[in-house]
Amino acid sequence: MARFISLIAAGVAQGAIAALIALGIVLLHKATGIVNFAQGDLLTLGAYVGYWLIVKHSMPTLPAYLVTLVLVFLVGVAIERVGYAPLRKQPILAVLISTFALALGLRSLIILWQGADDRNLPSPFKSNVWHVAGAAVPYQNILIVIATLVVFAALSWLLQRTAVGRQVRALAADRETALLQGIRVERLSIVMFGLSAALAGLGGLMVAPTLTVTPTLGFPLLLASFAAVVLGGFDRIGGTVAAAFAIAIVQQILGGYVSHSYIEAYPYIILLGSLMIRPEGFVRGVTGVRY
């Protein structure tokens, strides 16, 4: 029983991180139609900046987190200016590749800045754990889940109740018509790139205490979150979050009870299976066609 609880708890925490990254990807995709492959490295950046502020400069936790989020937001905006805005007239493929290039550049800048050695960002709760049903659940994991749920609620509110959110939903449903209706796409893109970057940065801050901080921290997490994004159909954030949790929990359960050497394979298998069966995802979205 204790084993089961700790597996579930690990799955929930892992799913929360994947959900944070996935929310950023889906938000950006709804607003701009592209996927930012630098999302993983933005997470890494968040972890490193957090480390630098808290460990190297002894800044108190909460202000450090805020400063990190602002900085990563700005980097996201920079990515929009360099890798997206100049390429508006070019096919999507060009933008995807430029985000790859920027991911590569970001990673090497991080290495130049902090070196490639392992770093450690301690949790604000140190190593305290919560004992439940015989299992030890780190407080950090609980924080991760709470943070994710808060973000999800905030994003839902943003999308459903604000003008900005309405614009994003309009763009996602039928981009051409939305553009014709005069949505200020330039401004919106900048904000959305920044916001989705900040979400990745938050993910970095949250996950860093549970892993070692290395320059390649973000990429595998990005891959895992892709499964959630694909399952959720790139569209509904609720479906994406649910998928993220589901996949991570299934992964932990199967890894714990079935086969551990292939534990990393489960999200990939789920992703591939999902695309083979239903390429448009399992969550119903709204799409328009224009010829």
């Binding site: 100049p86 070019q90 493929l93 290039a101 590569l104 090497s108 394979a265 992703l271 390429p279 010829y291």
Partner: protein, 353 residues
């Protein structure tokens, strides 16, 4: 090669006769698409000479290692060219196909020689490519890219654990070198010559492909998506064929890797290779079969020259990609054309004044 290809004949008289025939034929048959009039033989010969001369630039303490790498990556890049440049499919599974080709060849060759291993590698990777694309044929561009990434990671995971096929932690060693009759390709120099030969074959096949209806069918499908289906093209089949052909090239490269290095190990393959190859094709040029080769050579040789600033290497790559995308979409290979287009009006102005 058909007789009609050879009408662009060797002698001047032959050329004149050919032009006369062509003019008459134009009137009877109709205009000849532009691609079919391009002279590619000269470029191919030039390329052959340069490739054989490449080692002179790169022999250092690694001997022919760098040059060998450049040739292997060229073949991978040529395969990626089929998938990416010709049919617009964004795949990050290059490394997985490379590995599959290498291990298949290593596994089969004890039972028939490296040549049989080569054939097996090409067949297996072509089929694998076709299967992957077939199963994912309804996925849009981005999802397909993500799927190939996942597929690739899955393949690497399997190969790391599947000891019977790949040798697991030990890998496979003592692999035979290629042999033709009594002549064995078993020295560094011979390895390199063999690889250059295959690169040239690879480029030549692409040139033949360009001078055939297959190219425009692929390009139209790449650019026009669902609309292409309404003109009667079998887009799904075309995409599967292109993806499989690309996979076949990558499998060939894998087999060549195995039998010129005589050792394969799962750690030699990773997603990094897929990204590198993509960057090579982009920077080298996506509008010409020589692009991938130029890109592979530049990006294999460059790190050697950039050794003093090795830390900034990735930054240089990132910058290079952005420069190509923003300023030079045709890549390095398009540089002469672009420069000529810029310079000619200036020269014309000079002549006037």
């Amino acid at each position: 090669m058909s007789a009609t290809d050879q009408t662009q004949g060797e002698s001047l008289a032959g050329r004149l006769a050919a032009t006369a025939t062509a003019n008459v034929r134009d009137k009877i048959i109709g205009p000849r698409p532009v691609v079919y009039r391009r002279r590619q033989r000269e470029f191919w010969l030039l390329g052959a000479v340069l490739l054989f001369a490449l080692p002179l630039l790169t022999t250092g303490i690694y001997g022919l290692g760098v040059a060998r790498n450049a040739m292997l990556l060229s073949i991978l890049a040529l395969g990626f060219y089929f998938q990416f440049a010709l049919s617009g499919q964004f795949s990050l599974a290059t490394g997985a196909f490379y590995a599959t080709g290498a291990f298949t060849s290593a596994w089969v060759s004890p039972h028939g020689g490296p040549a049989v291993g080569f054939v097996a590698a090409v067949a297996v990777t072509a089929l694998l490519g076709a299967l992957v694309k077939l199963l994912l044929s309804r996925s849009p561009l981005i999802q397909f890219g993500i799927a190939t990434l996942s597929f690739s990671e899955l393949v690497f995971l399997v190969y790391r654990n599947w000891t019977q096929f790949t040798g697991g932690n030990l890998g496979r060693f003592g692999l035979q070198s290629f042999k033709v009759g009594g002549y064995s390709f078993n020295t560094s120099t011979r390895h390199y010559m063999l690889l250059v030969g295959f690169v040239l074959i690879g480029v030549y096949l692409l040139i033949l492909f360009e001078r055939s209806p297959a190219q425009r069918d692929q390009i139209f499908t790449r650019d026009m998506g669902a609309v292409a289906k309404t003109t009667g093209l079998h887009t799904r089949r075309l995409q599967i064929v292109a993806f499989a052909l690309g996979g076949a090239y990558m499998g060939a490269a894998g087999s060549l890797f195995a039998h010129t290095g005589n050792f394969v190990h799962p750690s030699s393959f990773s997603t990094e290779i897929s990204l590198e190859v993509m960057i090579m094709v982009l920077i080298g040029g996506i509008r010409s079969p020589w692009g991938p080769v130029v890109g592979a050579i530049v990006l294999t040789v460059l790190p050697e020259w950039l050794r003093p600033i090795a830390h900034y290497q990735d930054l240089v790559y990132a910058g290079g990609i952005l420069v190509v995308i923003l300023l030079l979409p045709g890549g390095i290979v398009s540089l002469p054309t672009v420069v000529r287009a810029r310079v000619e009006p200036l020269l014309a102005k000079r002549r006037k004044t």
